[in-house]
């Protein structure tokens, strides 16, 4: 159990910047998730912490002690690998005791600790199996047991669930979290699955192109994204163009004057408006807005009824593609493509960002 401080960490592959100026601070015992699209540098960051890559500059501190210059085998950070990396020539028991043997732990204690940890990951009965006699999920548990039995200061996991099927992934997710809580071990977890990240973490850190975009609690990431990339990546948001003319501002698609929300923003800055799909309501025909709402007229492109909810896709007259997820409405489901519809949302649910891939939040 230990806090982790990373500051000004930089890692280049040749002249490709994989990590630029990473600063993160992880409280002791928390579950910290690195979330981001493929190639954003998550694995690189994790492997740099583990000592498999050498950083170009910056420091990594565990419990205040710098570890960035230690060789990987002396860092005492446990790692769970995406492909499990279970030693195929060793039994489950020998895999799990590998790290303890390296640490010259007495045989009696090894037996005891291995027994305990196998119980924790519910593999007590499998101690003498060989890895090829285990399922993928069981192998992943061995990987976890092997990493936590050495009681590392920090536990690193690189997409540990990505090779498993959907059902198992959800089960193991809960179990991982339970074990982590029980042991209180500081954990850095990598995933590109936003649902997984939001469900498991104390803190979610969204990365993009080697840069940290936002690190906050899952709720804050979702409700209050600080820039457009985070909003888009986490919420699958709709982005509507905003026309500004001096102090006046309105949605290009029509149906909403947003001057008030943008009153404090300097003129000339281009802005987009983000609305999460589940905050949109859909009604048939074109109708006007209430004062606390906006109402964007659109043409229905497609509606798909998927049981619990319906997904409505429309195109505004400004050409914005809009998606709404709402409770099924028989009238809307029955509409033919091309029909007039109105997307409606509460003004308080609108988020404004400067345009550009990682434009900051405004207003």
């Amino acid at each position: 159990m230990a806090s982790v401080e990373i500051s000004a960490l930089r890692k280049l592959y040749g002249d490709v910047v994989a990590l630029s100026d990473i600063n993160i601070s992880i409280p002791s015992g928390s579950f910290y998730t690195l979330l981001g699209p493929s190639g954003c540098g998550k694995t690189t960051l994790l492997r740099t912490i583990a000592g498999f890559h050498r950083q170009n500059s910056g420091t990594i501190g565990v419990e205040g002690a710098p570890i960035e210059d230690l060789p990987a085998y002396r860092r005492d950070v446990g790692m769970v690998f995406q492909d499990y990396a279970i030693f195929p020539h060793l039994s489950v028991r020998d895999n799990v005791s590998f790290g303890l043997k390296q640490r010259k732990v007495p045989a009696g204690e090894i037996a005891r600790r291995v027994g305990e940890v196998l119980e924790v990951v519910q593999l007590g009965a499998f101690a003498d199996r060989m890895p090829h006699e285990l399922s993928g999920g069981q192998q992943q548990r061995v990987g976890l047991a092997r990493a936590i039995v050495i009681e590392p200061k920090v536990l690193l996991m690189d997409e540990p669930l990505s090779n498993l099927d959907a059902k198992l992934r959800v089960d193991l997710r809960a179990e991982l979290r339970r074990i982590q809580r029980e042991l209180g071990i500081t954990t850095i977890y990598v995933t590109h699955d936003q649902e997984e990240a939001l469900a498991m973490s104390d803190i979610v850190c969204v990365m993009y192109k080697g840069v940290i975009q936002q690190a906050s609690t899952p709720l804050e990431i979702y409700m209050e994204p600080t820039n457009r990339f985070v909003a888009a990546f986490v919420g699958a948001n709709n982005f509507l163009a905003v026309s500004r003319d001096g102090t006046a501002a309105s949605l290009a698609a029509g149906g909403a004057d947003v001057s008030q929300a943008l009153a404090s923003l300097a003129a000339g800055i281009e802005v987009v408006c983000a609305i999460r799909p589940e905050t949109l309501h859909v009604s048939t025909g074109h109708t006007a807005a209430e004062p606390q709402d906006i109402a964007v007229p659109a043409r229905l492109r497609e509606v798909s009824f998927i049981g619990r909810e319906m997904e409505v896709f429309g195109t505004t007259k400004a050409g914005d593609e809009v998606k709404a997820v709402a409770r099924p409405d028989p009238q809307v489901v029955a509409l033919a493509p091309g029909s007039a519809i109105t997307f409606r949302a509460a003004r308080k649910d609108l988020l404004f960002f400067e345009s550009g891939e990682t434009g900051g939040r405004v207003a």
């Binding site: 000592g51 210059d69 085998y73 002396r74 860092r75 990396a85 195929p88 590998f98 390296q102 092997r146």
Partner: protein, 551 residues
Amino acid sequence: MSRLRLRFEFWSVVTAMVLVVLAVLLILPILRVLMLSFVDADTGGFTLGNYVEAFTRNYYLNGFKNTLFVGVLGTLGACLLGIPLAYFNARFHIWGRAWISTLAILVLVAPPFIGAYAWIMMLGSNGFITNFFASLGISTPTIYGAHGIILVFTLKFFPFVFLMTQTALNAVSKSFEDAAENLGCTPWQRFRKITLPLVFPAISTGAIICFVLSIADFGTPAILGRGFRTLSTIAFAAYRSELGGLPTMAVTISIIMMAISMLALVAQRRILAKRRYASSLTNLPVKARLTGWRNTGVHVFCHGVVLVAMLPTLVVIYTSFLQTNGPVFTGGFGFESYRRILHDAPQAITNSFLFSLAAVVLITAFSALISYVIVRRENAASGAIDFLMMVPYLVPGVVMAIGFVTTFRSGSFDLVGTTGLLILIYFIRRLPYGVRSTTSSLRQIKPSLEEAAVNLGAPPLKAFLTVTVPLIVPGLIVGSLMSFITAINELSSTLIIYDSGTITMPVKIYLAVLDGEFGLAAALSTVLLLCTGVCVYAVFRLADNRDSAFV
């Protein structure tokens, strides 16, 4: 900080050590040979005279032409046998397919010079086939000379073309052939226009191996040549006659041999570079069932080729059990030949095993380290090592040996003694077999396994020994067996280096053949064949893909 340095240092130290070893044992001798070829033997000054002489004097020019002639025709012959054999085995149900490829592999690994002298026993001036036909009043063509050498090369090297082409044919998606047929190709057109071009890279690789080996082969032309000289016999003879002085002509000829091999390889790479086909193997080729005379014909061809190719080996084994009195076969069976090798050549047997095993121990250790450097550490040094691992294939044994002798032994100065020299030359020449097999084994092991070990606290060497090595053991063993087979059968470089105390089985056999002591040669050859056979059997048991382990 110092700890970190240490971590990076372990594999850097290994890399550096490997580079030094290769520089001393591989690059230095070759450079030495290259340098000597520009030295005037009388004055010791720089000269181009050696090359001028090599390309103007008829003696050398003929050697040059002869080498190309038997090399090209031998390769062609190997293709003519190997390609149909591969096609039949890959596309038709052949009864006894495993048997055919086993025999082909045995032909491949049998000591190279056995073929030559076994053919003498069959078709030589006193050969039993010759005598048989003579008793009927029919005269048979003599085996000596170019056509004999070409025959032996053809029957000795076709397995390379066969095995490589077969592997490639098995990987050609059936969809291509179906598409061609659908577009109206007859079976022959389909083979010529679709299948053949697709497997061309494999065929040409097999062919280039045949060519390089034919150029380098010493035993066959030495035994069958009778005045028909190739560059390797000329280089050997030149080395012998220049003994005492500087072997400048021998090295010049050596350089020319190497140049031919390299040019051939470069040309093949050039041609291949334009033809790379990505293959997605979704539709596995199927084997058709032939009927009638076609079926018979194909079977006769397939079994016939491997049986004829095995013939020398069978003759040798048979001969070894014939009763002899000195060099004369007295009729009937007996163990006289074996008694004689125990009496005459115990030293050759112990030396052969001693030198080969010592070399294999070195090869095994180095293979493990080198393959790790090649596979896991991607930098300029590991790229250079990877490239250098190809060089021993291209350097004829005669050349390497002359390089060794002129570098490590001159006059009374003898760096490591003859035994050491032989072990080292076996080591460097056979190292690539070990490295290749270990490398392909290591490539199948995920790097995350070693990382997991390191992450759990194992230093690099410990991680390598406890995780990597146990996982590459099969590859290591197959590689060691392959290098053992090829080391114990080594003739050409041993012949240049050995002295009376360090004679080996192949040398003894070669000398016995020259003396007409066929019984002795046959018994010794059988011993060699037995060792080879045992190793092949072990490889069969251990390798994932038994056919491709050998080529």
